[in-house]
Point group: C2
Chain length 160, copies 2
């Protein structure tokens, strides 16, 4: 199967999280932590109408992923799990997404909260969070149903 | 900012949707429509533990995107909107994601339902849907709050 073209980042994500250790592992565990998204000026036209949305999806490149591992010990568990049953960054295609709260837009700069992303992460896409599309009720969430809910911050295990 | 490496698809998504026209525009509008995900055998180890999850995120390459447009008229509206305030496929980095229902896993083949994806779409990643992480209540969803809720299927507007 053919490779994708190389993707070109459309901006950069600025956050207080300078290293993996101590970074919240999900937006739910990053409540109130603010960051800014610097969108390259050439894309500003595409930001129209975004300010009406309370939350947005940021899609980004895990540029500091240590490379692929198909079995990982996730932060919230102490046994190895299949990579695709986790949100760990060491994926074959290191693409992450986070649903953050949009505070305001100033030109090409988005002010957001609930950021769980490392500072300097290259932004690939922005999509609106639409509850009608994105909110699902589920009864089963696999190993997560018995996960250690106190493990809300990263450590060094997935550093390069 | 440096480009990403080219991403290598990890499998292919098989669905009944052979062309954009008539394809549901979101999994919510594709309830019960089944498809299969053929994961390349080299990645099977990473599928361990996934079967406990009721829903999964498929991350994929919109390989038939017509190229970037920063203003688009979305299916559910009749005025132009900023691209990033929509889920249209004609994005600078044509990456899509869909939250589908996982029915069962047979070796390297995932059987899923609620698929809104074109047949043959290259798969980039699989992540578990975890309600504790992914479910957000919002009061405002921008232009979507007044969108045409009957427009649930695509037409040819975003074809190559």
């Amino acid at each position: 199967m053919s490779e994708t073209p190389a993707f070109r980042p459309i901006g950069v994500i600025r956050t207080p999280h300078k290293e993996a250790r101590g970074t919240p592992i999900q937006p739910k565990f990053a409540e109130g932590i603010e960051g800014t998204i610097e969108v390259d000026p050439g894309y500003v036209e595409g930001l129209a109408d975004l300010d009406g949305f309370e939350r947005i999806w940021l899609v980004y490149w895990f540029d500091r992923s240590p490379g692929m591992r198909l079995k990982v010990k996730p932060f919230m568990d102490d046994v190895e799990r299949g990579l695709f049953a986790t949100r760990a960054p060491c994926r074959p295609n290191p693409i992450g997404f986070s649903c953050v709260r949009l505070l305001k837009i100033d030109g090409n700069v988005l002010h957001v909260a609930d950021v769980d992303i490392l500072d300097g992460t290259p932004l690939l896409d922005i999509k609106p969070y639409v509850a009608r599309f994105d909110k699902w009720d589920v009864k089963r969430s696999g190993w997560q149903d018995a996960a250690d809910a106190s493990a809300t911050r990263a450590d060094k295990r997935f550093e390069k």
